[in-house]
């Protein structure tokens, strides 16, 4: 089924379209969700909720973007709520101080599962807005203007977030894993 027919069938709430949508975009969305939230179980829940919300708002889908981009937009919104809910604490100076101290002790507590390479761990330490841009640019392979439209921000903001993230990731990655050290570059330049 091509995308146009799939969209029409999905709008008509055809069960076959739901199955096809899951098989064509489910795993891809799950991987993106995992990179955004850092926990597989939570990523599974986020993707399930994404499809449920997509089902509910299918009649409002206007073909202004691809189905995947539309689904990914829903996922991004849900991920932001997820991070906000996990970080929210209720008023009171004492709680604020306690939470700030805990955050200093364990800055990557939110991404315990993302314990792969140094680069993956560094990705988990970026703030959500920076991580979103990095994932959309280098994992989803979206272009700057597409990311700007997807996130509803300017191209300049996308670029500044991207440059900050690249610098921050390079700082965070250990020297051993750092492929971008100046020495290595100079050596490569000479050859």
């Amino acid at each position: 089924m091509d995308e146009e027919k799939l969209v029409a069938a999905f709008r008509d709430q055809d069960p076959a379209a739901v199955r096809e949508l899951l098989s064509s975009h489910g795993d891809r969305l799950l991987r993106s969700a995992f990179l955004l939230c850092g926990r597989e179980a939570d990523a599974q829940d986020l993707v399930q909720e994404t499809f449920l919300q997509a089902l509910q708002s299918a009649p409002r889908f206007r073909n202004q973007s691809s189905l995947y981009t539309w689904l990914h937009g829903i996922l991004l919104n849900l991920t932001r709520h997820y991070h906000r809910d996990r970080k929210r604490i209720v008023y009171g100076d004492e709680q604020v101080e306690r939470a700030a101290a805990a955050a200093e002790e364990s800055p990557i507590a939110m991404d315990l599962q993302m314990t792969g390479s140094a680069l993956q761990q560094a990705l988990g330490r970026l703030s959500l807005p920076h991580r979103e841009v990095v994932i959309l640019r280098f994992y989803e392979d979206m272009k700057i203007h597409e990311i700007a439209a997807h996130l509803g921000i300017s191209r300049g903001t996308v670029k500044s977030r991207l440059h900050y993230s690249i610098e921050r990731l390079q700082q965070l990655v250990s020297e051993e894993m750092n492929l971008f050290a100046a020495e290595g570059t100079q050596r490569a330049e000479r050859t």
């Binding site: 509910q56 700057i144 991207l162 971008f180």
Partner: protein, 187 residues
């Protein structure tokens, strides 16, 4: 094109979305600038490396089969489509926002004052005072966020806004005053 300009356009150069003129200018600059060539290569290496790492970290992930069952169940039970609120309902829900409601009340007051003035044919200083006073007070919820380390703290408070004005027949209304009272944080 100089080094600074090239750095600015580096993302677009790599993704191939520069205009042909800018692309040619960037190529000419790169041909003569070893530092920018190194920067470009670092960028490409980084992008490749990061994309590879992210794919490696996620390639084994599969969506659990329960998701399909759950979705089809939701579809059958008719929960899908509930969120598709009609446009008219969305309009009315927007209209009943506190500020919108206060604005409507004020507008209604001004219209009534104008109507009675017109009906009475009152002239200043020739009869009883037919001025109309309108006062509206309302609460506006204020939700604020601030960052504390890696935590986002949110606070809900209510702001009391009081608007009052007095209108005289056949005179321009006096400027309305708006007073904002102190915030009352909810704990």
């Amino acid at each position: 094109m100089n080094c600074r300009r090239l750095e600015h356009w580096l993302d677009e150069y790599v993704e191939g979305t520069l205009s042909p003129r800018k692309q040619a200018a960037a190529d000419r600059h790169l041909a003569g600038c070893a530092a920018c060539r190194a920067k470009l290569r670092r960028y490409r290496e980084f992008a490749q490396s990061l994309a590879g790492e992210m794919r490696q970290a996620t390639q084994s992930l599969r969506l659990r089969p329960e998701v399909e069952r759950r979705l089809l169940q939701a579809q059958r039970s008719g929960t899908a489509g509930v969120a598709d609120q009609p446009a008219a309902a969305r309009f009315w829900s927007r209209l009943f926002q506190p500020r919108a409601a206060a604005a409507c009340l004020l507008a209604a007051g001004v219209l009534l004052a104008g109507y009675f003035t017109w009906r009475s044919g009152h002239r200043p200083g020739t009869g009883p005072d037919l001025s109309v006073s309108v006062q509206v007070s309302y609460l506006v919820p204020k939700y604020t966020f601030r960052q504390e380390g890696s935590y986002v703290i949110d606070t809900l408070s209510y702001e009391t806004i009081s608007v009052h004005g007095r209108f005289w027949p056949e005179h321009n209304p006096k400027p309305m005053r708006e007073q904002q009272h102190k915030l009352n944080p909810i704990k």
